[in-house]
Amino acid sequence: MSRTTEILLALAAAALVLLLAWAVPWLRFVLTIALAKGLAVLGILLLLRAGQVSFGHALFLAFAAYAVAFGASTIPEALILLPLAAIGAALLGLVIGLFVVRYREIFFGMLNLALSMVFYSLLEKFYAITHGTDGIRLPPITFAGQTLGSEAQGWAMLVLALVLALGFGALVRTYLASPMGQALAGIKTREARLEFMGASGRSVLLAAYVLSALMAGAGGAVLAMTSRHVTPALAYWTASGELVFIAILGGAGSVFGPFLGAVAYELTRVYAAALVADAWQMILGMVLLLVILFAPGGLWGMGRALLARRRAA
């Protein structure tokens, strides 16, 4: 798919999201949350390129969400809180990354999981600071200095999430085509060769890890400002599993996958929960099974194959 086609497709998808949110008002919240999670899943996709799966990336999402919650009382401005929280998550990603990029595969995945659970416990146990499982309600925040009504605030968050999705999507696409991104894919097939070319596989992975933490942080900040409430559940290991689930559901072959997967996931969850309240997780499980068995390229891969077939016919 050419670059122009992808840009047009991305803009069309963004327009579709806005249209959906306008036509079905209660979807606006769901779509904003989906895009926020999509940002974190974009980070999972980066690591997947290196053949590594993090089962703890909700850590960075939750870290930024809590950073927003704590920061909101002193700096109640969305456009300052968001970059601060995301950069905070990236710095935490650097510190943790220096440690975890020494490991590969199951050890990499489990170390991420362990660290995220440590963070979860801290959030849960330090009741005096974090209010434990009750979580923290966000005070009202301004948007570019304006105090917005809840309707306008909802739209602002959706547009912000869209802009971040488009921006980070373009960045990751460029990154993956660059020497750093291609070397990242080289970690999966022949990391030893990187060393024999005078390059460090660990550094290549670390760079991607920090970027993934930055994006998860941006997603977490949007999530916190949209839901106006943060709880330790954001950092629980199932939240991390959800991100990996979405990555596989959407497809890791393109930067469209994470967002397509996240929107499909959130919509399925909302509708399935409404229709078959007790069985929606079973439905999600079946969907994942079907994707793995019949569409390893995920929803994005399926869509692209259909498009290609139609064009060929």
Binding site: P179, G186, M197
Partner: protein
Amino acid sequence: MSVLLSARGLRIAFGGLKAADGIDLDVMEGEFLAIIGPNGAGKTTFINMTTGYLRPQAGSITYDGRPILGMKPRRIVRAGIARSFQLPQLFTEHTVLENAALAIAAREGLWSPLAPLLRRRFRAEAEELLDRFGLLPLAGRRADALNEGARKLADIAMAVALRPRLLLMDEPTSGVASAEKMAVVETLARVLRQSRVTAVFVEHDMDVVARFADRVAVWGQGKIMALGPPEQILNDPAVLRDVIGIAPREGSHAAA
């Protein structure tokens, strides 16, 4: 000719096996030096020690007058020593062109996340490199879809892309079908002479050694048993019988 690489008193043993038991070896700038010897003699171990992957228990290695033992493999590469592998180490999910471009990018510094790998300059150099190796028609193929000869050449091309002064090759023709072996060797010899690379190569095929090497070192029982021009070494009955453990080549009796 000046000495480019100098090994002195190298010793390393794996359990009871003495792979190197006091190795002294000089590699002269610009020469092609073949290392021959029985399997398990320690030839690849020499490459691993020189590239920083194995630390000898005693001895020293200097490159261009500087000691390199204890340096990280990455720094040794950056100092100008590249290697190729007995089993080609390619990025199997990348095309041949991308493999070459990645090696070029690694030499130039990988850290440019915003320009594509196949930017004009890298692509042009990669294509030129592959052309010299006769691999240009295969540039768009995935690396895991090549035959052994092409994989070997691609593996060596990636090492050459680093613009080393010294190239260490571990059995550059093993696994290559005998019909294409000499073509591979001719290509290699031409490219390496053009690039003015000093080459050390471990080899089992005596025809390749005779065709390719300026000097031959015979590695056996952890020592350099003989060292000299190929016509002398390959016709020495004692070397053939006692060290290499193969029957003399046809016609070599007359010469000996």
